[in-house]
């Protein structure tokens, strides 16, 4: 990936995040922080892309970053982290891959279907694992605070 392509991805990821935060009716004062998160996540993706050829790892590291960024921002702005995670991660969400999977399924292209299906699974797995890892760590840090609730179960 050359530098021009990388800049295009980061910038369009940033603008796309703004679009989605309006679409999901995010709180107006917080849109800019979430969108910056989207842009930075794309930047991490570009770096990870040049480090590894495996799409699982290409998406794991941006997800780790996006979740950590969102959790920090959520603490700073005293609001839940879910909206920030959703908007930061959205440029990497394998929407197009999922679409192509189903498109090749209904147009009898078995080889391409298999390829896109596995790719979708890898990307979704990478992003999911990345988000969960950070969430687990945050929960461990907060454990003493909500101990009484976890112990009720």
């Amino acid at each position: 990936m050359d530098i021009k392509q990388a800049i295009i991805i980061v910038l369009s990821g940033f603008v796309g995040s703004i679009g989605f935060s309006l679409l999901f009716r995010m709180n107006k004062q917080k849109i800019i922080f979430a969108a910056i998160g989207g842009g930075l996540t794309c930047l991490v993706y570009v770096v990870a892309f040049n480090f590894s050829e495996k799409s699982f790892f290409q998406n794991l590291f941006p997800a780790l970053f996006a979740t950590a960024y969102s959790e920090i921002l959520a603490r700073l702005t005293k609001s839940p982290s879910t909206p920030y995670i959703a908007i930061s991660i959205i440029p990497l969400v394998p929407g197009s891959k999922l679409y192509y999977t189903m498109y090749y399924l209904i147009t009898d292209n078995d080889l391409a279907f298999k390829e896109y299906f596995l790719e979708t699974l890898r990307i979704a797995g990478g992003l999911g694992v990345g988000i969960i890892l950070v969430s687990v760590i945050i929960r461990e840090i907060n454990y003493h605070k909500f101990k009484h609730i976890y112990d009720m179960e």
Binding site: I18, P94, S96, Y99, M152
Partner: protein, 259 residues
């Protein structure tokens, strides 16, 4: 707690469940919803609370200090992403947990959040257009492709909101608006407004494809809510299939024509 005598536990559970239901409708993850209900019940002095929830159904039983049990269920019919409302629900539940207030007071606040008027969705429309334009470029389109995608997003958005209001089958209207968007993309390229129909389409596909739903389903399964995650995953795949069916019609038709 001096308000203890006034609290009706049945109403309290009802409030907690309604907050949970509203959260699911705004697109919250299941474990967050379950935790919220448990925390509210705990804040009002319940000894034990058991809840099971999937995206379309919630059950909860709570036991008070006298050993009396209360059980309620909720059915959730439709859900979408509304992050601002989710945030308000979250702060309401936090407020209740910090200082358990009168049930009626909390109920009033919940109603205010739920029936808050959303004016004509100019910002949502704008968001659609910006996102579609940006993602056409993200996947390697030209400026012209982006502009075409930007315009088609208006049609997608209007179709989705107008047909949704009529209560039509979700899969059908998704396929219908996909077919219209695909046709428009080919027409735009034919008249010279745009270069690659597939890249124009991908911008608009990103708006309606349940990508975030897919990620959330994986997250839920990894958190242990396998049931809810599976339901979400299947729904995402089915919606994606209906989008693919919709776009396949113009792609195959115009492909045969040689456009």
């Amino acid at each position: 707690m001096n308000t203890e005598t006034k609290i009706d536990n049945e109403e309290m559970l009802s409030l907690a469940m309604d907050i949970g239901k509203s959260m699911i409708k705004c697109g919250a993850e299941i474990n967050r919803v379950e935790e919220t209900v448990i925390r509210i019940c705990y804040a009002y002095g319940m000894k034990q609370t058991d809840i099971f929830s999937v995206i379309s159904m919630m059950f909860a039983t709570t036991v008070d200090e006298n050993g009396k049990t209360y059980t309620q269920t909720r059915r959730v019919m439709s859900y979408s992403n509304n992050l601002a409302r989710l945030e308000k629900l979250n702060s309401l539940s936090r407020k209740i947990c910090a200082s358990p207030c009168d049930i009626e007071e909390a109920r009033k606040e919940l109603d205010e959040i739920n029936y808050e008027k959303t004016p004509f969705h100019v910002t949502a429309l704008l968001g659609n257009m910006i996102a579609a334009g940006a993602f056409a470029i993200f996947f390697g389109g030209t400026i012209l492709d982006s502009a075409a995608s930007f315009l088609i997003a208006v049609v997608v958005y209007l179709m989705n909101t107008m047909i949704k209001a009529r209560g039509m089958n979700k899969l059908f209207y998704t396929a219908l608006s996909s077919a219209v968007a695909g046709t428009l993309a080919f027409v735009f390229v034919k008249i010279g407004f745009g270069n690659n129909p597939d890249l124009i389409m991908i911008g608009d596909i990103m708006l309606i494809i349940p990508g975030l739903m897919l990620i959330n389903s994986v997250r839920e399964m990894l958190c242990g809510d396998v049931m809810s995650g599976l339901l979400r995953l299947l729904e995402a795949i089915i919606i994606a299939a209906s989008i693919a069916c919709g776009f396949a019609v113009p792609i195959l038709f115009f492909g045969r024509l040689g456009w």
